[in-house]
Point group: C2
Chain length 173, copies 2
Amino acid sequence: MRSDARDNRERILEAAREVFAAEGLDAPLREIARRAGVGPATLYRRFPTKQALVAEAFTEQMYACYAIVDDGLADPDAWRGLSAVVERLFELHARDRGFAKAFIDTAARERGLASLAELLRRAEQTGKLRADVTVDDLVLVLLANSGLRATSETTRRAASRRFAELTLRAFAA
Amino acid sequence: MRSDARDNRERILEAAREVFAAEGLDAPLREIARRAGVGPATLYRRFPTKQALVAEAFTEQMYACYAIVDDGLADPDAWRGLSAVVERLFELHARDRGFAKAFIDTAARERGLASLAELLRRAEQTGKLRADVTVDDLVLVLLANSGLRATSETTRRAASRRFAELTLRAFAA
DNA sequence: ACGCTAACGGACGCCCCCGTCCACTTGGCT
DNA sequence: AGCCAAGTGGACGGGGGCGTCCGTTAGCGT
C-alpha cells in the first residue's frame, strides 16, 4: 500500500470513530469521508461494507472492553470486580453511541463472553451475586443501557450511571 | 366533515397504529397512506405534522396506560400495585415500538406523572420500595426498556419481561 | 528526472422519502 | 336529478444517502 493510501486509511478510521461516537452507526458514510478529507470512493475502496469500517474503527475500543473485563477478573473480590465492569462498560457505552451498538451486535454474535461468564461464576460464589443472574442478563442490561438516548451526552452519561447503580442492585443477592 | 373524509381519517389512524407498532415512529408516512388505501395528500391534509398523527393514533394506548396506573393505585398493596404497573407498562411498550417512543417523549414533556409519583410514595410507605427511587428512575427504566430492540417481537417481549423482573429487584428494599 | 501505475475524488445515476399542487371525483343538499 | 364545494390522489420537484465509474493526480522505483 502506498504511503498516502495508508495516511488516508488512518484518517478515515479516526473520522469514523468521531462520527460514530457522536451520531451512532447510522451516520452517513459521506460525512466520515468529508471529515477525513477524502472522497467517497476512497472510503468505499478501503472499506467495501459499513461493517468492515465499523469493525476496524472499534478494535481499539474492543480491546478497552476486554481490558475492563480482565481488570474485573483480576480483582480478588469478584463482586467488586463485577461492579466495576458494569460501571465502566456502561460509562464507555454512554460516551460512544456507535460503539455501544457495535459491541452489542458482536457480543451477541460471537461468544467472547467466556470471561464475563467466569466473572459471574466467581461473583456468585462470593454469595453477593444472585444465583440466577446469567450472561444473557448482562447482555440484556447492556442493550438496555445502549438504548438510553438523550439530548445531551452529559444527560446520557448521568442516566447511564444511575442505571448501572440500579442494575447492580438488581444483581445483588 | 364529509362522511368519506371521516372514514378515511379512521382508516389512516388504524393503519398508523399498525405501522407504528411494527416499525416504530420512523416508518415512512407513505406506507401508512398506502396501507390505508389513500393518497399521501389526504394523509398530509388530515395530519399536517407527524406529531399530530402520532398523538391521535396513540390516544387509546395512552388511556390504556392511565388505566394501568389507576389499577396500580387501586391496589391496597401499593408495592404489588407498582409491580403490576411496571410489568404491564413494559409489556405494552415491548409490544408496540412506536408507542413506547411516543410515551417516553410525552412522559418526559408533560408531568402527567403525578399519579406515578403518588404510587411510588405509597409504595415507599409500605417499606417494600427503596426510599430513594424517584419518578425519574421509572422514566429511566422505561426508556431503557424501549431501547430493547430485538429481531423478533417474541424475543423482545421475553427480554422485556426479564427486564421488568430485574427492575423490580432493583427497586425493592 | 521520468514514467508507470496505484490511488484519488468529483460526478453520475439510482432509490427513497418528503411536502405540495391541481385536475378530477363524489358526497350531500336542494 | 343536478349542482358545487369538500375531498381526493396521482404526479411533481427537492433533498439526501448510496455505490460506482473514470479522468486526473501523485507516490515511488528506476
